[in-house]
Subunit: 294 residues, 2 copies
């Protein structure tokens, strides 16, 4: 390639599935000069180096970000404030920063606090791509291909910085959307965080019974699908639920009101009410699945 | 084959997926002489005849059951009382009757009412085998292979009659278990009926919002799995929920109490309580999946 890559130097904090796939995606697009990796585990960093995900292991975050074009913070959300505060003083004027966190209002609040006057250089992102595996070895150049990435720009972001971050995710193959951070958190509370909570709750409720084996022994395919997400990572989901607890409690309360209505219908033997609810749900679920299949 | 089949004449009411697969299973085992089918749809009966599921379409239920060895009532539960009352006066002393209903206490109550003194000839059954498709064309000889069938014998059943019905399901390849009808209904309220209700409720709650498209557009794989059963048949699930509403309301109340605890933990920022619940659930879900895989 003769032309200069669009991102000369990229620094990635957290070189697991999310960060590693981002680096590989940019490399596959041949639009990155050098990738420098940071992480808490030397084993993971060494693995990422050997897999060609990163070109170098960074020693000093401040020194590395000063001439970076792009920084991705792909650690668990709980570790982001510390990283933000460490790099903030050293960000060059050309550097844009993005992240890979599943919740956004809390990340934006941390960014305002720790980036301060430089918060305009931070364009928050949530890539909607997970996988059953994690870690550098699970990273793939095509993880984000045709997947959604939601940007939740802050008012201080310049159009230029938003466009740079959008471009980086698009180079990885993603379909980039924009929402406000509160819209984002409300939507994901409803379609992701609440279903996880409900699935964990169902399995927990069975598991704590004295005769739980009897119940589990007759569970079949409907149970299997409904509870697949109850095998998700407890610490990660604890953090997501707490980070988004305001929106999640609102969604949970809506849902509890819905369950109260269904309970009433059962008590009153109101088959018409049950059937109407089930029918609306089935129609919507089928339309959604057909839309996905397109 | 030189020996006489174990079941000379079998009468099946409802020749769709459940009844048709039962007939095909017995035929595959070469342990049935003749299968006579009844149903509400002439189209389905003709199809079942052409597919070799049944050998003859019955004209008069009473005439056919008098010399039958085995009768399967595989209609929706709502149609069972009428069939029971029509055949009860004509059941020969050798005839055993079973069914394919998803709920059992209500079927047993109907059987007591309509079979009267002959209720000992009725051995209730619930085959745990569904499929996305229904109808005679979906019937398969191996539908029940390695699937569970739960018998819920009544006190009037002789050991001989229970053994006959057990044998018929085993010839279809099923693993036969026995529970009381109330145990059965409690277990399936928890592991099947409640998850369906919860999944329908989640999708309905999203579908009725003004901005439902925004929510559905960001729903991903966790949502897909959790809501797969919300595409189930509304009328069928209305009937199951109503038929088992006592146990279902009990399970729903347990579950609502569980949600109240999780809501408290969220409100109190109690990460330890959330993580513990999630961890117990994950451990149990994984153990269940590993047990299934064996």
């Amino acid at each position: 390639m003769n032309s200069r890559p669009e991102f000369g130097k990229v620094v990635v904090f957290g070189v697991g599935l999310i960060g590693g796939s981002f680096a590989l995606g940019l490399k596959a697009a041949a639009q990155v000069g050098e990738v420098v990796g940071f992480g808490r585990s030397l084993v993971t960093l060494t693995e990422a180096l050997h897999l060609g995900i990163i070109d170098r292991v960074g020693a000093n975050p401040g020194q590395e970000v000063v001439d970076a074009d792009l920084v991705l913070i792909a650690t668990p959300v709980g570790q982001m404030p510390e990283i933000m505060s460490r790099i903030a003083p050293y960000l060059g004027p050309q550097t844009v920063v993005t992240d890979g966190g599943s919740t956004k209002a809390d990340v934006v609040a941390a960014a305002r606090e720790h980036f301060g006057a430089k918060v305009g250089q931070f364009v928050p992102a949530h890539p909607i791509a997970g996988a059953e595996n994690s870690g550098a070895a699970a990273a793939r150049a095509d993880l984000y291909r045709d997947k959604k990435v939601v940007l939740t720009p802050v008012s201080e972001n310049s159009a230029h910085n938003v466009a740079r971050v959008r471009r980086a995710w698009e180079l990885c193959g993603a379909q980039v959307h924009e929402l406000s951070s509160s819209e984002h958190d409300r939507v994901f509370a409803a379609v992701s965080h609440l279903p996880h909570l409900l699935s964990f709750a169902l399995v927990h409720d069975l598991a704590v019974r004295e005769n739980s084996e009897l119940f589990f022994s007759f569970a079949a395919s409907g149970f299997r699908d409904f509870t697949r997400i109850a095998a998700s990572h407890p610490e990660m989901w604890r953090d997501i639920c707490l980070a988004n607890r305001v929106a999640l409690v609102e969604e949970l309360d809506r849902y509890r009101a819905q369950l109260d209505e269904l309970r009433d219908a059962l008590q009153k033997d109101d088959g018409a009410a049950l059937e109407k609810t089930f029918d609306v749900a089935r129609t919507a679920r089928r339309a959604w699945a057909e839309g996905k299949a397109k």
